[in-house]
Symmetry: C2
Subunit: 379 residues, 2 copies
């Protein structure tokens, strides 16, 4: 199958770029003693997970129960479910654990820890629970030096249904950094937050086997991993315009794109319309924080993946994308039916609209679809 024959809109994954991104991240942690536990919330694909765990210890991170089930079904046996757990999901996890899967979950709340422990005991499992630490993103987690950390640890450690698996943080604020020096500082805050939290647990006599940090920008630019046991970046496999804006990659590292067709000309308004809108691209506009002329994504030629002028998707409706650029639109090169590719602002969100990847390999004939890989969406 040729890329030019794929019905649009469609999600395209360049295996050459994917493998290069994965190799670069593996190299980054080689010899550090820190285990790479890739986050599969971006890729949601067993084929990608296999590539991302080559040469690693095999553990992965997921963000939904649907991912946990899917990856367990594809032979991944060590899974961290890294979103605050609700007690109502313990029974489903117990079913997975009964099939031989090592599952680790997350909480940042003592009352929830107690309810999770009770439910785990009722289900007859011993559930390892990580305590989420806030390293400055202020999204979730407890501070390393507050009263909640030892309180949660004591609940988990003292209950029949749970054990303290360790501590975990995600420096989400690294996504809004102004430059690489800023990322380095946040990476150090991220590291220190979990290392300090682990030390406090040790002082309280509670073992803390896992000290887990992880975001793609801090993985790429952090200077020290001392005291960490694992790292959980995810979007590095694909990268996106937001990561390019932060400085975590170059635009030509971006492995994922949306194939779209021109569906109309608005010559008077200096625009072509494409069949990729809010649903096919998402409404994520994150990279506009860093780049001009970005909108909902950069417009690249379908074959080689080079940007066409400074064309970008200026606006989106449900099934319409409006493409324009500061130098005008080359209408003659973009008749109705012509195909382009759009680089997304945020790969995790854009990819979630699709149930599969059309895989190409830009190191060979980039117009050849070399594989189709499935994805697991939903919850």
């Amino acid at each position: 199958m040729k890329l030019s024959d794929v019905a649009t809109p469609a999600l395209i994954l360049d295996r050459a770029r994917l493998e290069a991104n994965i190799a670069r991240m593996a190299q980054r942690f080689e010899g550090t003693g820190v285990r790479l536990r890739p986050h599969l919330k971006t890729a949601k694909s067993a084929e990608v997970a296999r590539l991302a765990t080559v040469g690693q210890f095999g553990g992965i991170t997921v963000s939904t129960l649907a991912e946990a089930r899917y990856f367990a079904g594809h032979g991944f046996a060590d899974i961290t479910y890294a979103v605050g757990l609700v007690p109502a999901k313990v029974a489903a996890l117990a079913e997975l654990m009964a099939t031989g899967i090592a599952l680790t979950v997350l909480t940042d709340n003592a009352a929830a820890a107690r309810a999770i422990a009770d439910e785990a005991a009722r289900c007859g499992i011993l559930l390892p629970v990580l305590i989420e630490i806030d390293s400055g993103a202020h999204r979730a987690g407890v501070v390393p030096d507050g009263s909640e950390l030892p309180e949660i640890a004591k609940v988990l450690d003292g209950s029949e249904g749970t054990s303290v698996a360790g501590v975990l943080t995600h420096a989400g604020h690294a996504y809004h950094c102004d430059g690489i020096e800023g990322i380095k500082r946040i990476a150090e805050d991220e590291r220190r937050a979990v290392v300090d939290a682990a030390a406090r647990l040790a002082e309280a006599g509670i073992p803390c086997p896992t000290v887990s940090a992880g975001s793609t920008p801090t993985a790429v630019h952090g200077e020290s991993v001392e005291g960490l046991t694992e790292f959980r970046p995810g979007v590095y496999m694909f990268f996106d315009l937001d990561q390019a804006g932060i400085g975590a990659c170059a635009p030509h590292d971006i492995a994922v794109s949306v194939l779209a067709s021109v569906i109309g000309h608005q010559t008077e308004h200096g625009r072509v319309n494409i069949d990729a809108g809010s649903l096919a691209l998402s409404q994520d506009a994150s990279a506009n924080e860093f780049f001009g002329e970005t909108g909902y994504g950069w417009v690249m030629d379908a074959a080689g993946g080079a940007r066409i002028g400074k064309l970008h998707v200026e606006g989106v409706n449900q099934e319409h994308g409006m493409v324009t650029g500061p130098g005008g639109v080359p209408f003659g090169d973009l008749p109705v039916g012509a195909k382009i590719r759009v680089l997304p602002n945020h790969a995790c969100i854009t990819a979630a609209a699709y149930d599969k990847y059309f895989v190409i390999d830009s190191s060979g004939d980039a117009n050849k679809v070399v594989a189709e890989w499935d994805r697991v969406n939903g919850w």
Copy 2:
């Protein structure tokens, strides 16, 4: 099954509100001679389509080829595919037409019309094509009084593979209106644009059987339908905060919501976190144009669907929603595991993250799931 037992996040549809919304729209067009061709791009559900076509002529509107195939497979035999067509999709449409489905498509480009006609002739079909008219939204379409309209009509009329089905417009700019008087003006522009276009085609001796307008706000508030043959509103079945903001409905008419669980407390930051984030709610923030304290949706109690204070989803990450409100968060009422429902900004976009509805009926026991209805996503 009880609503309180549904795993979160999940898409909830209130059949009582759905049926009331559908009945109100049907009444609006009763006796006008204008046929209601509901747009199924929001609901993407055969069960909803059946309710929306009760007492109507049975035709529907769709926005993707996947919807066309799905609804054809569920017995809907008169389908308008109302997004500018690329010639590459004609062969797939020919396959559908061979099963007895009456399909009508859309273009606003003479070169595309020619390519569509050639491809249709090659496939051995006669494809009825609507010409898209720009009634002021400036998204797509040709102006009623320009040279492109007769040019496209002549191509379609003069080709073996196509016929002129008529003219179609969508007043998308009605979504950004400041008040009902504004919507009335736009409704009149919308009507006049297609009626004028139809008159021009008649003058040129080209029959124009269909004169199609349609958006939910203009359907609700427009004062005249003279000269129109059909109307294609869609989101009225569910409504959403954006439509409430425009004045097309009241918040208590909104039939669709996202069931979510509290997954953490950030007491210091005055927030609870829920397990509905960018993917479960979408990043659509449209209703903030009209309402304060809206963010990514209003937070309602799970059982009765009444708003909790002025709580709303202030921020979203992939699987996290951050809930706050001007009067603070009642943490005691919202322990980890507690369920709430979120009213969406834009039903069409939020619903697309789910492959099914859990249907409840608020005219009876609102905690009872009375049905599960599937949806067709993707392309």
